[in-house]
Structure formats: structure tokens, C-alpha cells
């Protein structure tokens, strides 16, 4: 299983690819909407790309709970374990 940092890095790569936000800005304490300015459509793209990259399922009803990068990393860690 990937480490927390590896998941954050992987997520940062995805966010950069989809939204252009610099990967180094994608830190655990950052809010997807308030800090990274990611809209709901791009968030779905990020989620689907993350599912594929980490081999996990992130149900639609779960997405609203993923406010920060840290929330997403934690969810992926748990879902993958």
C-alpha cells in the first residue's frame, strides 16, 4: 500500500493535470474548493482519475465529505487497506 505522502503526490499530479493548479500547492490542509478553486465538475474528474490510479472506489455520496486534500488521502488509504 502506498504511503500517505505517495498518495498526496499522486493526487497532486492528478489535480495539476486536470486544473493546472501547481502540484506543490496540493497539500493535506488545502480545501479543494476554497484554496484550490476546483469546481464540482473538475472534482468529479479528480475523483475518477484517483479511483483509477489507486484502484479504489469513491462513491458519489462520499465526494461531498472530501473537503480537503487530507480528507481524500485518508479516504483512499482506508479504501485501499
Amino acid at each position: 500500500m502506498a504511503s500517505t505522502e505517495e498518495i498526496r503526490e499522486g493526487l497532486a499530479e492528478i489535480v495539476n493535470e486536470i486544473t493546472g493548479v501547481p502540484a506543490e500547492d496540493v497539500q493535506l490542509d488545502k480545501s479543494f474548493t476554497d484554496d484550490l478553486d476546483i469546481d464540482s465538475l473538475s472534482m468529479v474528474e479528480v475523483v475518477v482519475a484517483a479511483e483509477e490510479k489507486f484502484g479504489v472506489k469513491i462513491p458519489d455520496e462520499e465526494v461531498k465529505n472530501l473537503a480537503t486534500v487530507g480528507d481524500a488521502v485518508t479516504f483512499i488509504e482506508k479504501a485501499g487497506s
Partner: protein, 419 residues
């Protein structure tokens, strides 16, 4: 019918076409008679009966940032590029409010012929090959035909309305007619109007080819689109678009804007005849031309130039000539006409916009661009077709028409007057 008193003028131009990535390079290529038609190089072309097209001279990926481009269908990418050029050309910087305009008085009318077809197809491929979860959440906002219009309105903060006429190959001209109405009716002071299209891909090529609408002469691409020529055998699919900033004359004059030409009037009709064939007597076209003249307060004697729809199909080009002969009588042979599709191919929803822009520049510079590939004029065509080199127009007040017709029998004729 009473004519509206509000005059509408063109104060900004933007284009990206098969012969140039902006207005200046497009105009230079048109004057030079340079064809943008070429052999397509994509892998998928091998199985198709038609292997030629007129792709944009400058790919949007060279102009737009990657992240911005990936959220836009290619047609909306063209529209955004055109809008930025036209907006800057009109002397505006930033969004409407930053440019000193009231956003509620700024509108957008950006036409589309078929909408975001390649986005639709690539998402269908995803659905079929990878399942529903992999269909992009951006698919709908990208493929909806109003997407170019909506994106331009967001870009410019245009809040008076964002509209999308859809009338096949006359859509781009219908957009300008709609914008003219918006300003005349007092719904807006400034409207960015035109159209864009991007469907050079296997399905539309196969479909148009099966309609017998496309030329299949794959070996000599630059000689293929040949409006009015005896050996024409169909049109060539092009892509790109154009947008113009239309403005009430009062508004333009108050801010000291450069005025390219006046949009003097519009005439529209429907053939009510056949879904793809032109009505052979040109009845609907004649009606549209006459309506445009009346709307503009012009007579046939005032017209010094016609920018033809002429797509290079056997039936369509003759029907247009018949209509022009009916309206202009013996004078028809002293009206220089041109057919830009000989160089840019057929931009569908973008065609009427690019060709209106060419008509505006023709009046502005007093030069009619030549029609390429007219080697041997069809015996059934009786027109003064400008060939080989540009033709100079007289100085002084002049008016010109742009013809646009679409599958379904839509006829749109726009009248422009030298400002």
C-alpha cells in the same frame, strides 16, 4: 415593413480559419487566393472515401493554455480565440465592466451547425470501451451547441443574453442577423456575433460523403473546392470560425470606435422544399435577398458585390446563380462576386460568420478576394466571378451582400454598407 432607425456597425473582428490563425493572415490568404485544403494525415482517414479537409491553419492548442482548452470542445476553443481577437480589436480590454461597458448591455450570439460532435463521439467511445464511470462530467457542458456562446459570454461578462442559432450552414449568418435585431430592438448596445465549427472527424466525413455532398477527389486537395466551375463535385469540410463586435452606431461613435462597415439589414426565408436539396428555381433565396435589401433600405442597383454561399456542389451553385440573376437582371454581370469556400472549404456553422467578415473587409479595403479554382465556368452560371487576383471596388458609398444557405432550406442574406 417599417425599418428600424437604429444603425448597427461592426467595430471589431476576430477569426481563426483554414487559411490563417487571425483576421490579418486570413485576409491576406484570401486576397492571395491561397487554398487551405489539404490531404488529412490522421490515421482514421485511411478507411474513408474522402481524405481531404481544410483544418485550422493554427491549431487551438498552440494558442490556448492546456487546462483551459481541455474544458472546451474544439468549436468553443475556436470561438474563444475569435472572441478575444474581436474584443481587443474593438478596443476593449478585460471583462465588460473593466472595459467601461455595462455588462447588461453586452450580448453574445455564437452559432453552431452541429455542436460539440467530436466531444460526443469521444465520450461515447469512453462509455463503450471503459464504462459509464469514465464518461466525462464535462461532456454535456462541452457538447451542447450553446457551449461556444456560453463560454464567450462568461469570458466577456456579457449578460444581455447569449444565444445560439442553429440552421446548419447558414447558422453563422443567422447569428449576425439575430445580433442586429438585439441592437435594433434596444436589448443590447454591443453584441459579439458569429459562429464556429469543428467537425473534421470520421463520422461527419462519412455522413456528408454518403449524402454525396463532399468532393472525393483526394489526389489534388488544393484544386478540389471549385465553386461555379464545370468540374466541381462537392464541398470540402473546413473548421474554424469568426466573431464580429456589432455595436449601435450611437454607442460606437460616442466612444470614438473604428468602424469597419454597417450591418445594414438581414433577410431570411425557408425553402420548405427538401431537407438537403436546394429549391431549383431559387425562390427562397430570391425572397431572402429581397428581404435583406428592403430591410437595409437598399435597391438592387446599390449592390456592388456579393459574397456567395457557393459550396461547390453541382446543384447549389447553379441555384444561387439563378437567384442572383432573377434579383439583379442584366446588371448581374457587372457585380463582382466571390466564393471563399474555394479556399477555406465549408465551415458549416462558421461559414456565414467568416464570409460575413470577408464581406466587411471587402467593403473596408475596397478589394474583392478572388475565387480559387474557377478554370471553366459552368454554362448554367451567369455571374462576374472574381478570379486569380483581387478586384478593386469603387470609392464612395457601396453596399454588399453575403449569402448563406443551410441544409433544411434555411436562407440568410446579410446586407452590409460601407461606413
Amino acid at each position: 415593413m417599417a425599418r428600424s432607425q437604429a444603425r448597427v456597425v461592426v467595430t471589431g473582428l476576430g477569426a481563426t480559419t483554414p487559411v490563417g490563425g487571425d483576421v490579418a493572415s486570413t485576409w491576406e490568404s484570401l486576397l492571395a487566393g491561397r487554398s487551405g485544403v489539404r490531404k488529412l494525415t490522421q490515421e482514421w482517414v485511411a478507411d474513408l472515401p474522402v481524405q481531404i479537409g481544410a483544418p485550422a491553419a493554427v491549431d487551438p492548442s498552440e494558442v490556448l493554455p492546456r487546462v483551459e482548452a481541455r474544458r472546451l470542445d474544439r468549436s468553443a476553443q475556436f470561438a474563444i480565440i475569435c472572441a478575444r481577437e474581436a474584443w481587443a480589436d474593438a478596443g476593449f480590454t478585460g471583462k465588460a465592466s473593466e472595459a467601461g461597458l455595462d455588462p447588461d448591455r453586452v450580448g453574445v450570439v455564437c452559432a453552431s451547425g452541429i455542436g460539440g460532435l467530436t466531444t460526443l463521439l469521444s465520450n461515447y467511445d469512453q462509455l463503450r470501451d471503459a464504462g459509464p464511470r469514465r464518461v466525462s462530467p464535462l461532456a454535456i457542458p462541452m457538447l451542447m451547441p450553446n457551449s461556444p456562446s456560453a463560454n464567450v459570454s462568461i469570458e466577456l461578462q456579457a449578460r444581455a443574453g447569449a444565444h445560439t442559432p442553429v440552421s446548419a450552414c447558414s447558422s453563422g449568418a443567422e447569428a449576425i442577423a439575430y445580433a442586429l435585431d438585439m441592437i435594433r430592438l434596444g436589448r443590447a448596445d454591443v453584441v459579439v456575433a458569429g459562429g464556429a465549427e469543428a467537425v473534421i472527424s470520421p463520422l461527419p466525413i462519412a455522413a456528408f460523403a454518403n449524402m454525396m455532398a463532399l468532393s472525393k477527389r483526394n489526389d489534388e486537395p488544393t484544386a478540389v473546392s471549385r465553386p461555379f466551375d464545370k468540374n466541381r463535385d462537392g464541398f470540402v469540410l473546413g473548421e474554424g470560425g469568426a466573431l464580429m463586435v456589432l455595436e449601435s452606431a450611437e454607442h460606437a461613435e460616442a466612444r470614438g470606435a473604428t468602424i469597419y462597415a454597417e450591418v445594414a439589414g438581414a433577410g431570411m426565408s425557408a425553402d420548405a422544399h427538401h431537407i438537403a436539396q436546394p429549391e431549383p428555381s431559387g425562390r427562397g433565396v430570391i425572397t431572402a435577398i429581397r428581404k435583406a435589401l428592403t430591410d437595409a433600405g437598399l435597391t438592387p442597383e446599390d449592390i456592388a458585390h456579393v459574397n456567395c454561399h457557393a459550396t461547390s456542389t453541382p446543384a447549389g451553385d447553379v441555384a444561387e446563380s439563378v437567384a442572383l440573376n432573377t434579383v439583379f437582371g442584366d446588371r448581374v454581370t457587372s457585380i463582382p462576386v466571390t466564393a471563399p469556400k474555394s479556399m477555406i472549404g465549408h465551415l458549416l456553422g462558421g461559414a456565414g460568420a467568416v464570409e460575413s467578415l470577408a464581406t466587411v473587409l471587402t467593403l473596408h479595403h475596397g478589394l474583392v478576394p478572388p475565387t480559387a479554382n474557377v478554370d471553366d465556368v459552368d454554362d448554367d452560371v451567369n455571374l462576374d466571378i472574381v478570379r486569380t487576383t483581387p478586384r478593386k471596388l469603387d470609392d464612395g458609398p457601396l453596399a454588399a451582400l453575403n449569402d448563406s444557405f443551410g441544409f433544411g432550406g434555411h436562407n440568410v442574406v446579410l446586407a452590409f454598407r460601407r461606413a
